[in-house]
Symmetry: C2
Subunit: 177 residues, 2 copies
């Protein structure tokens, strides 16, 4: 990972898409921004997708991330909900690819393991660790915390990857484009 990397983390959802931006310099992580993109409830699909694309575009233009990490969504048992979640996620990734940003993907399990240290962590533990790791003065809203958590996951996994390579192991980076 480059000396100065700015990571945009995204946790897509059909109603709320969380995002978090962090700076990474060596082993130091610092908070830049976070928040939620809320799609208008009951609005037509195209309108909801337009809201996601427009806001992610604004975030990229404002914060100029160099890398992006997207949480792999939970595959719901309800097909209609899964389809809607997929559509929101597809729109979010479309917005990222428009800026030619590298997109990395992490499962919820990988995020919890990286941030809390165990895959079965509760949502509150993820929020708590995000506050600790970024030395925040308050607790961000759950979706924003998830956006920050996936950004931190990308940073942490690449630290350990870099360390392993230094120790003589050759590992293929899990880069997604």
């Amino acid at each position: 990972m480059q000396a100065n990397t700015r990571i945009l983390g995204i946790d897509p959802g059909s109603r709320v898409t969380g995002f978090g931006v962090i700076d990474v310099a060596g082993r130091h992580h610092s908070y830049v921004a976070s928040g939620c993109i809320k799609t208008p409830v009951g609005a037509p699909l195209a309108e909801r997708i337009a809201v996601i694309v427009r806001h992610i575009n604004e975030i990229i233009v404002t914060y100029r991330p160099t890398q992006t990490a997207v949480e792999q969504v939970f595959v719901n048992v309800n097909p209609a909900a899964t389809l809607m979640l997929g559509q929101a996620r597809g729109a979010a990734i479309a917005a990222l690819t428009l800026h030619d940003l590298p997109v990395y993907e992490y499962t919820a399990l990988q995020v919890k393991q990286a941030v809390v240290g165990k895959g079965k962590a509760a949502k509150e533990q993820v929020q708590h660790m995000v506050v600790q790791m970024l030395a925040l003065s308050g607790t961000p809203q759950a979706d924003a915390a998830d956006g920050l958590a996936v950004a931190l996951t990308h940073a942490l996994r690449n630290h350990s990857l870099a360390a392993q390579i230094q120790h003589g192991l050759t590992i293929k980076a899990g880069r997604f484009r």
Copy 2:
């Protein structure tokens, strides 16, 4: 519907996205273009989404449609397949909304009813009717025919809507943005 309308119809799929462009002048429909966007098999998701967005963008820049119609995808029983289909569809609609184009949605049932006259029509019947209605000299590939079929559906449904309004009925147009 305006006197001269150019409709871009899209049939999203996780591997192949079909598209068709038609011109509508009154009750006359004419063929403009059609084809398939194939996403690289086995490529990472972001790459596949980038291919969809880039190609739809090129189609819009080349053919300058004034309206767009997107087929509502079949909700698969396999959650992973449904998610992938949703992501491809979300990316396609994201590309349309970037050009501020109105997006209308039609179910496969509505497409078959509009083009063939019955909801249980086979794929070949849809292809056959597309060839007839647009006086094509050859049969387009199945996904391209589906793109043309959803564009024709939008044209036909708006004709009948316009006719009903002329006969004194007030009907809310099914506009999606």
